[in-house]
Amino acid sequence: MLTIEGLRVVYPRTGVAVDGLDVTVERGEAVAILGPNGAGKTTTVRAVTGFLSSERVSVDARRLEFDGASILRKPPHRIARAGIAVVPERDKVFRELLVEENLEVARGRSGDQALQDTQDMLDELFPILVERRKEQAGLLSGGQIQMLAIAMSVLKRPTLLVADEISLGLAPALMDEIVVALDKIRDELDLTMLLVEQNVGVARRLCSRGLVLESGHVRATGTMDELAADDSLANIYLGGTA
């Protein structure tokens, strides 16, 4: 479904961020991108979702394809329309709009039954968003903003969800709630997922396979169990315990 071959991203100031990255994500799969800060995880996500194309960043790849069509250097909204949704690390929601207005922006003009069903499911998964729907999104807590961002990204039933650091800065209980919700959303919508994570625990619960990045290179790939079993990797790149 998503094929990345030989991805190379060079920033004008800081130089090579990702070099020679290969990843394939099959339909229905959930793949984690792991690695320390500055390894190139977010850059990879931004290259896939098109967010680098507007800046003066050089993005190159032998293949960067989604559903058989090239998405290399395509603008973000084209990629979104092709079926790739993103939960970015920052600026996830429109802080000045109400919670319900955020969802209305995400909903756009469509109002079919499928969308209504998705909305109902999300209401059930995230009751707090229903409760606080008349409040400005900027007033939500970090976890609630994450929920809103997830709801907005999956509302139109994308085929691939790319999420950047979904567990960042969340309390364990909240994280658990979000992981459970994501799992359910994936089942209901038949989602394929590409998750950038620093938290190996979260990655293991959601993903079957992962790759570890270091300094823009793939350091290791394998099933999540294999990666977690490899002590040296765990210690060096994953920050110890899983």
């Binding site: 429109f94 922006v105 707090i128 229903v130 409760e131 729907r133 008349k134």
Partner: protein, 364 residues
């Protein structure tokens, strides 16, 4: 999120009632209460305030709601005014209502022509390109005026809609008051529509809005078109009001004045537009009466009087900087707090609007 239909209608009925009540109140204020209360001097200032509001609303749509800073305000005002002057000059018996409609339509078309290239650029570039339009329009109106009537300017006929013929200040006060309220209603209607939500999303994060399916060019262009149509109508009204129209009126100071209103009032704020327009328009008059009160020191009074326009410019500039630095939400945030306090009184106790972490009472 998906509110039940019953919930939805109750909600919109309540909103409609509030809007109806507020606009009736406003209408009563500008048509009955204020004209009978205010002195002629204050009514004169009030007339300019009310006249300014539609233009401030228009800029607030493009700049405040959609986040596209435009310096085309005075240019579109000139377009509207010169449409009125040109039409009544060529066909002296054209009904006023027709002139206003023509101004709106041609203003909208001008908005497309200007907006289509302009919305492709962002930020400072947009400001500069709309600035260019200001000088192009000024040049064209100057040529037109000199060709048609010469230096003296266009003479406009009496304003007349359904027999309403404002002549004295008090009548113009009422006329502009009605248009001001209409323009505020237009702004409110758009703010709470799908288009309005798209504008706010664009203002906050253009790329994110586009990724979520907002059609950027279309939304921005519509902001331009609605705004320029509104300003063009205001321009036509202005032409009737002054009676003699000259191109020199549309100086660059005017652009700064409107930008100051929007920033001081608060980006995208409807009550802020009214407060901002009132403050910015009446400022020079306040300065003047201040200088008159400094009788003891003739030197200062004389200095203020001689430099009133420079002082005014300086004050606008200083206010813009102060508000951008210290009150980026404008007067709006202050007005909103007072407004919520009033609503709280109105509804009785039980819901405290200033507790952001409390889940809001829904449908209460």
């Amino acid at each position: 999120m998906a509110p039940t239909p019953a919930n939805l209608t109750m909600d919109s009925i309540r909103k409609l009632l509030i809007v109806a009540a507020v606009s009736t109140l406003g209408l009563a204020l500008v048509v009955v209460v204020l004209p009978s209360m205010l002195s002629n001097y204050v009514l004169g200032i009030g007339t300019i305030v009310l006249f300014t509001i539609p233009g401030a609303v228009a800029l607030n749509i493009v700049f405040g709601l959609c986040g596209q800073i435009s310096a085309g305000n005075a240019a579109f005002l000139a377009i509207g005014a010169f449409i009125a002057a040109g039409m009544t000059h060529t066909w002296p018996d054209t009904p006023t209502i027709l002139v206003l409609l023509a101004a709106a339509s041609i203003g909208a078309i001008a908005g497309v022509l200007v907006g289509a290239p302009a919305v492709r650029v962002r930020g400072l570039l947009l400001l500069v390109s709309t600035l260019a339009i200001h000088f192009i329009v000024l040049y064209l109106t100057e040529r037109y005026q000199k060709n048609e009537v010469g230096q003296a300017g266009f003479l406009l006929p009496q304003f007349d809609i359904l027999g309403w013929q404002p002549l004295r200040t008090i009548e113009w006060f009422k006329t502009f008051g009605v248009f001001a309220i209409l323009s505020l209603l237009v702004m409110g209607a758009f703010r709470y529509s799908r288009l309005g939500r798209s504008w706010l999303a664009i203002r906050e994060n253009e790329t994110a809005a586009e990724v979520l399916g907002v059609r950027l060019m279309r939304a921005k262009l519509l902001a331009f078109v609605i705004s320029s149509a509104l300003i063009a109508v205001q321009g036509a009204l202005f032409a009737y009001y002054v009676g003699i129209l000259q191109y020199e009126t549309f100086a660059f100071d005017m652009v700064i004045q409107y930008i100051a209103i929007v920033i001081i009032g608060g980006l995208g704020s409807i009550p802020g537009t009214v407060v901002g327009a009132t403050l910015v328009v009446s400022l020079p008059y306040l300065l003047r009466s201040l200088s008159e009160n400094l009788k003891g020191s003739d030197g200062i009074a004389g200095f203020v009087d001689d430099n009133i326009f420079n002082i005014q410019r300086f004050t606008y500039g200083a206010l813009i900087v102060v508000f951008l630095l210290f009150f980026p939400d404008g007067i709006e945030s202050i007005v909103r707090r007072v407004w919520q306090w009033l609503l709280g009184l109105f509804r009785g106790r039980g819901d405290d609007p200033v507790a952001p972490s409390e889940p809001a009472e829904v449908g209460a």
